[in-house]
């Protein structure tokens, strides 16, 4: 092509004529067009080449099963109840997988992501605090930062992020620090796809275009919360009540129709944002014992005990009159708990619509829409099983189980999509079911269950076993399809334990003179910081009220700080329950167990509870109770936020596991090694495939 063009140019320059004749001009034009087309095609091809997978057909599939317990799995494998995991173990290996300290999901998954401990990623608990605000809590893996600036027009505020205004709209930032291991794959041209990886919201960007992901745990709903259901019942309170994870409203029928209001996201165009409310109607036919829910022109028919499909809702964000109304879309499901005589309707948290997401849910942005084109609507919040509806008594156990089974069905459909669209490189797929069902139904001992009779406890525990069998079948199917051609890893971030007794750390600190005054009910309200040397926040964290770090700190850094840490650790280790049983297995000094550059927000001590114990519900957010040790009478009757040694995760792989004590932080280096990449210096883990 190039020679053709040169020839024509030569012909044109050699021409004796003073002008360019028509024939030559046409030839030149044709050649130029062809040349441009070739150049375009070549550029496209070269661009394509740079995006082509360099994994050379190598496949690694990682199935992350949150909270799958190695003890239960081993015993079920021995009983022949998990034949596929047993088969895979015999081919490769099965092992406990050391979890994070503390063994909380955001911490553990961030360990997995970075191939290094919390000191590298800066996530130490579900809940963190800003020391300069003393103890104001926020979700550790992501934080929404308020916007700055704006044009005020009447009751509205416009944020314009372009010159000359340069306002800063509110944004949610991922607080996980360090380099995720997929960045190394991305750089090497190896494709990786992650479905619902926790601790990755908003999803981290891909520099080279080889990484795709759907964000998982930590993804909010349309209300900006981690899942807020709405309940409408004739037995509801006179005024709508906000309860942890939900809203409860009274519904009144006039004739056969009741008018209700569904609360949506806040209108950010308002100076003082207020939620957008959607009016909807419920028509009850007592003779048929059915209802019709009529919302935004859509009718939904429900019998008692029936769930609707996902329903798309439109929320108009109205600004000043000259600004076009912006629309955001959410999705929810309706569930008729009871029709008559006491009407009770549950509306699921309003999820971000995957077909038209209001915020970025995936990397690349359009990935979630591509998935939705094939699968339709599906839940997008980080916590999909509505455990709050169960703990607040909206759901009974069976209802929660049913809702959780819907989540699993959706996950399995998504897994099918994932497999169908997987060629090579790394495929990671996450299951939340084992974690959020175990929290409610796990009880693996003959000890008295705090709220259930022994047969009931066993009945519900059998659901967990059935779930393990279901997941085993999924793994078997995957292994049959890819076992001979791929490295298949099944891993969990931690195990599980009963949670029968709760320990209020703040109450203990109060009783032992570390937290004052003695009448204090919450460190958020009535604590006297001038006489408080330590406080508890989050599930496993204990903080000193350190001078120079905490806003009202009084403990001198250095010798006093060290002495206090040692004293607290010693005294906490000695705590015993009324029956003489030890409550705490280990107390860890963060300055000794964490290494890395991201330790700024780390607690000073990490409390490792024994199996059966956990931090009390109140102490997690700074509350105090008269008693230090209490029964846990919540439906949430099992947990994993104990000592890391009490609740290891599991690893099952179809390749030989050579490492004797594999840990979560070892998986990223192992995956990289399987793709022929060296362990980066940012990782402290070592490959499980090497001795």
């Amino acid at each position: 092509m190039l020679t053709g063009m040169i020839g024509i140019l030569a012909e044109m320059t050699n021409s004796n004529s003073t002008g360019i004749d028509r024939r030559t001009l046409l030839k030149g034009a044709a050649a130029a067009t062809l040349g441009a087309a070739s150049l375009g095609a070549a550029s496209y091809w070269l661009g394509g080449v740079s995006r082509v997978s360099r994994s050379l057909g190598k496949k690694v599939i990682v199935i992350g099963i949150d909270g799958m317990d190695p003890r239960l799995t081993s015993s079920m494998m021995r009983e022949g109840l998990l034949p596929n995991l047993a088969k895979m173990s015999s081919q490769g290996g099965f092992s406990d997988l050391a979890t994070s300290c503390p063994p909380q999901s955001p911490v553990a998954w961030a360990n997995f992501i970075n191939g290094a401990g919390p000191g590298s990623h800066g996530i130490f608990d579900f809940i963190h605090r800003h020391p300069h605000e003393q103890c104001q809590p926020f979700y550790s893996a992501a934080e929404t930062v308020a916007g700055q600036g704006g044009l005020e027009i009447g009751e509205h505020q416009l944020q314009l992020d372009f010159w000359p205004f340069l306002h800063k709209p509110a944004e949610t930032i991922l607080r996980r620090q360090g380099t995720p291991f997929w960045d190394y794959l991305d750089e090497a041209g190896i494709p990786s796809t992650f479905y619902d990886i926790p601790a990755n919201y908003p999803p981290s960007p891909s520099k080279h275009g080889h990484h795709r992901c759907l964000s998982g745990m930590g993804t909010p709903d349309m209300l900006g919360s981690y899942g807020t259901y709405q309940y409408f019942g004739e037995d509801g309170p006179q005024k709508t009540v906000d309860e942890a994870g939900g809203k409860r409203s009274k519904l009144r029928f006039i004739g056969d129709t009741a008018n209700c209001k569904l609360t949506g996201p806040e209108n950010g165009f308002l100076k003082t944002p207020v939620p957008i409310v959607i009016d909807f109607q419920v028509h009850r036919d007592r003779s048929a014992n059915c209802v019709v829910v009529e919302i935004q022109g859509t009718k939904i028919l429900l019998k008692p005990g029936q769930w609707s499909h996902w329903t798309r809702l439109d929320f108009p964000l109205t600004g000043p009159s000259f600004v076009p109304t912006k629309h955001v879309s959410g999705i929810c499901r309706f569930y008729l708990l009871e029709g008559d005589p006491n009407f009770r309707l549950y509306v699921s948290p309003i999820n971000i619509d995957p077909s038209a997401p209001a915020v970025r849910l995936s990397e690349p942005t359009e990935f979630v829409q591509d998935v939705s084109k094939e699968l339709g609507l599906f839940s997008t919040t980080g916590f999909q099983e509505d455990h709050k509806a169960r703990t607040n008594g909206i759901f009974r156990d069976e209802e929660y189980l049913r809702q959780a089974s819907f989540v699993l069905e959706e996950r399995l459909a998504l897994l099918e999509y994932a497999i169908k669209n997987y060629d090579d490189g790394l495929l990671f797929f996450y299951f939340s079911s084992s974690d959020l069902q175990s929290h409610m139904f796990w009880w693996n001992s003959d000890e008295r269950h705090p709220t259930r009779s022994a047969p009931e406890a066993q009945k519900f525990f059998s659901h967990i076993k059935a779930l393990y069998q279901k997941l085993d079948a999924v793994i078997g199917d995957l292994h049959d399809r890819y076992g001979s051609r791929a490295t298949v890893m099944v891993m969990s971030d931690h195990g599980f334990a009963n949670f029968g007794r709760q320990f209020n750390l703040n109450s203990w600190l109060r009783d032992n003179g570390y937290l004052n005054p003695h009448e204090c009910t919450s460190i958020m309200d009535d604590v006297d910081w001038s006489s408080t040397t330590a406080y508890g926040l989050g599930i496993n964290g204990l903080y000193l009220n350190l001078k120079g770090r905490e806003r009202d700190g009084i403990v001198e850094p250095g010798a006093q700080e060290d002495a206090l840490k040692d004293e607290l650790a010693t005294r906490l280790m000695a705590v015993q329950d009324v029956d003489g049983q030890s409550v705490i297995r280990g107390v860890y000094r963060s300055d000794k167990v964490y290494t890395g550059n991201a330790t700024e927000l780390a607690p000073d001590l990490i409390i490792g509870y024994r199996r059966g114990y956990r931090a009390s519900w109140e102490t997690c957010l700074g509350g105090l109770t008269p008693a230090v040790l209490l029964d846990n009478d919540s439906a949430w009757s099992a947990d994993h936020c104990a000592d890391a040694l009490e609740v290891p995760g599991l690893l099952c792989c179809n390749q030989t596991i050579r490492s004797k004590n594999p840990s979560l932080i070892d998986l990223a280096p192992s995956i990289l090694e399987d793709f022929g990449l060296k362990t980066p210096s940012s990782m402290t883990g070592r490959s499980i495939f090497s001795t």
């Binding site: 129709t257 036919d285 009718k299």
Partner: protein, 281 residues
């Protein structure tokens, strides 16, 4: 609107349905985008030809030439305020005249274009149900809150399964069913209302099909908007029957976008071909 208008519109709908079924049937097998493009091209050209023969072309040309001349005057005598203002006024007047001249072709085309849009909406306003998918069907009864409540039931059909219903909304005189589609194809759902049989069409299939969202009431607007099925007689105990079909997707044939795509597409086509057909627009 008078009964006569509604009857006339119903007759026109019947003709349009016959032609539409025949001419638009390829939309059922063509890729959606391609079908939308073909429709935009064909209708754009047809509207152009119709405009040519129903408009006063020489008057149009004269107006256009006048506007061009005034535009030239504007550029040549831009320093003269009097000439500029005069030209601007004559341009506005020319534009108004061209609208006036276009009124006759618009009047000639409004009926066929409305019928055409009615037919296109059957293809693109919603998608048919898929086998296994469920939907809500609502039968709206005539009368008011004090009227007696007739006996209504849905005749069992192998094409559908009733999941929930009938559920009565007394305040709205409506009866709803949740039906699950079992068999692909066009089906007639038969309702028994106080001994009378009334029917409603249902479309089930994987590919694009004519979907009749509503069998309309005896109301002119509804008859125009929902042309596929005849309206219920004003004396009928049933006012209307509607099916909640899922919205169709795609930016050329989606529920929210097909009309915009068709309008812009056919306008562009008409402008592109005005030279070929020697039409002054």
């Amino acid at each position: 609107m008078s009964d006569l208008t509604i009857r006339a519109t119903t007759q026109l709908n019947q003709i349009a349905n016959g032609i539409g079924r025949l001419l638009l049937s390829p939309l059922g097998s063509l890729p959606a985008f391609f079908g939308a493009v073909v429709v935009a091209i064909v209708t754009g050209i047809l509207m152009l030809i119709a405009f040519k023969y129903t408009s006063h072309q020489s008057a149009m040309k004269k107006i256009r030439s006048g506007i061009k001349a005034e535009l030239l005057a504007l550029s040549l005598f831009k320093d003269s305020i009097a000439v500029s203002l005069g030209s601007q006024w004559r341009i506005v007047a020319g534009a108004l005249k061209s609208i006036l001249v276009s009124l006759i072709p618009i009047a000639c085309m409004i009926v066929p274009v409305t019928l055409l849009l009615g037919q296109l909406s059957l293809w693109w306003q919603a998608r048919p149900l898929q086998v296994g998918e469920d939907t809500v069907i609502t039968l709206n009864l005539a009368g008011n809150e004090k009227s007696s409540w007739p006996e209504v039931d849905l005749e069992p059909s192998p094409a559908v399964q009733t999941n929930v219903g009938p559920v009565r909304i007394r305040s709205k005189r409506s009866i709803c069913w949740n039906l699950q589609a079992l068999e692909p194809g066009y089906h007639n759902l038969v309702f028994h209302v106080d001994g009378q049989n009334v029917e409603k069409q249902l479309a089930v299939g994987q590919h694009p099909m004519r979907t009749s969202i509503q069998r309309p009431a005896w109301n002119w607007t509804d008859v125009v908007l929902y042309p596929a099925e005849p309206p219920f007689d004003p004396k009928s105990p049933v006012k209307s029957i509607e099916i909640q079909y899922p919205p169709s997707s795609g930016w050329a044939t989606g529920t929210q976008s097909w009309l915009i795509f068709w309008f812009i597409g056919s306008t562009i086509v008409a402008f592109c071909f005005r030279g070929v057909f020697k039409v002054t627009l």
